[in-house]
Symmetry: C2
Subunit: 335 residues, 2 copies
DNA sequence: CACCGTTTCTACAACGTTGTAGGCAACGTT
DNA sequence: AACGTTGCCTACAACGTTGTAGAAACGGTG
């Protein structure tokens, strides 16, 4: 039931190549021939075989976006923007979930997607620069700062400055015992390290002591981890008057734990997050946060990939920075 | 820098086909030949060209999942389960966002994905049975009930009964003026219609009047729509003592609007949702909801697709039902 | 009218893979 | 010694597409 160029050609009484020319918009085809071919195409409901086209042309028109987890809203929102940005280039986006596991990330980066996609936009959690260096070929754009001085183009935001600014916001409101939730071992998360650096920068600049007991680790950054970390802080006896959570889902979990402990936000404890996911605009209270320009991040990533595909693949790697802004909402207001 | 079977063959001193046989695990290859070939494969870091393989075999090993929006958490969570379930069959999942727009859905269902994927798991919003009937070939499994008596296998949950049960839960708690948020024109959303039917069934069975002014429409089912619908209900003067929102994001928006109006949940107004997304387990208050077994839905969908691919493509279409349960949390408790 | 450039179309080969058919040894059986 | 069987391997063709080369028809120019 599926037709090929040959079927269309026979029906229209022309050669296979002429049909191919019509399909590809080649100019030198007589109008009446073109019409006949188009009619045959319509009658047979012909659509080209992308695998064959790819085999011949070396391009698939498909790029992949690999993220740790789709049900972390930040990545889902980012995915939507990447799909939109890629559409402008006529690309379809294959979305891949790595689970943040190094093995799976390696497979995605090098294996399964091979020869099926033209390029890859990759948000790695566990992958090392070495893993990436061992890859041949497939053009790639990295998101975030897990892999430094990597062998690929990258889009980042200035995590350190953003984290400093949101912490300064808390300090300006009069908070003095500011906790941080989401720290990780250095080899796990570069984002965590950078955001922690911004946090300590702000404290230092304001003449506040860095108190290690106020910093709570969180290996994953889900709501449950944020709630657990907040509970741990509260039961440990330290009484913060504000909390900087390294992402919004952690913050939403923290809000929940504070609520369960009978503490009011922001009156008793102010809370800020990072990412500006949609939930934070409707949570109770709404969440103050750092809002990276996800649309811009997606655009830049797609653009870098396009340049790499069309241009010099051996050109030196580029690193572009996307803007962000502070989004101040109820969880820090009214004090 | 990318090698082909031919390169491996030359290096190992065998024919191209022998390398192919090694790659595909064909039994009749002498151990030492096999070893030589494998060594060459490793040295050249050879990986097969999937497009060529597909062209030859007619299979890609890729299936697509098309959903309206990834940043609706329900779909993101579902996507994760589908990816997991598909992995058991060695399939990669290409995730596609349709935006719920009919044109885009048609494109996805028939066009771009063509010849690139073996099959499609599809959660349509706007597509009609006609649109689907016009498709040739690609095996497909539908999720949800937008397209009835469609030309494809389908996985559903019993929306009517589930909606009735969650409404009965509210009635049992003593609520008498139960609002509904999320109704839609019949041609837009079958889920809306079925959930509304379950709601009215429950009212009727309890001898409660159906009050049209208590039913608020919502064309999309996002948080913002839920908040707007709730505000509209409140300002219209009707004073519900409970609200059944047709999905969780609507409910989270409604929670927000109630909070802004100074009403307590569940003391003043009880709220229930539908979908059991993760947000609802951490919201303030946590959200009572209908919890469809998303893992099972994904499994069934993948299974149906596998059967369709391996078996008789002309066999009569099947419809499977996935289980659900009520998840009672704070937004209806304590009354 | 001979010539040349342009337009329109076609035949062929190639992209990298695998199914089919078959060849050649080596072995066991008669 | 002749024969069939099995194990191992190779040559060839084909999947559906498009780039290249070139043929045929056409129009304009000297």
């Amino acid at each position: 039931m599926r037709h090929r160029l040959k079927d269309v050609a026979e029906r229209a009484g022309v050669s296979v190549k002429t049909v191919s020319n019509v399909v590809n918009g080649y100019v030198h085809v007589r109008p009446d021939t073109r019409a006949r071919v188009e009619e045959a195409i319509a009658e047979l409901n012909y659509r080209p075989n992308l695998s064959a086209r790819h085999l011949r042309k070396g391009r698939t028109g498909v790029i992949a976006l690999a993220v740790p987890e789709l049900d972390i809203p930040y990545f889902a929102e980012l995915a939507r923007h990447v799909v939109t940005a890629a559409a402008a280039y006529g690309w379809t986006v294959l979305i891949d979930q790595t689970g943040g596991r190094r093995e799976q990330e390696r497979v995605v980066a090098s294996g399964i997607t091979d020869h099926l996609i033209d390029g890859l936009i990759f948000s790695p959690l566990a992958l090392t620069a070495e893993d990436l260096a061992s890859l041949d070929g497939t053009p790639m754009v990295l998101l975030g700062e897990r892999v430094e001085h990597g062998p690929a183009d990258r889009v980042v935001i200035d995590n350190v400055t953003a984290a400093r600014e949101i912490t300064e916001h808390l300090i300006k409101l009069g908070h003095r015992r500011i906790a941080a939730i989401g720290s990780q071992r250095t080899d796990e998360g570069a984002s965590a390290r950078l955001r922690l650096a911004g946090y300590t920068d702000a404290l230092r600049a304001a003449g506040l002591d860095y108190d290690e007991t106020l910093v709570a680790p969180a290996s994953a950054w889900h709501r449950a981890d944020g709630a657990a970390a907040m509970r741990a802080l509260l039961t440990s006896g330290v009484r913060p008057d504000a909390v900087f959570c390294f992402n919004d889902t952690l913050a939403l979990g923290a809000l929940r734990a504070l609520h369960e402990a009978g503490l009011r936000v922001p009156e008793d404890v102010a809370v800020v997050g990072f990412d500006d996911i949609e939930d934070g605009r409707f949570s109770i209270p709404t969440l103050s946060t750092v809002a990276p320009d996800k649309e811009r991040i997606a655009q830049l990533a797609v653009e870098l990939l396009a340049n790499r595909l069309d241009g010099d693949r051996a050109a030196p790697t580029k690193e572009l920075s996307a803007p962000y802004r502070l989004e101040i909402r109820e969880s820090t207001q009214g004090r």
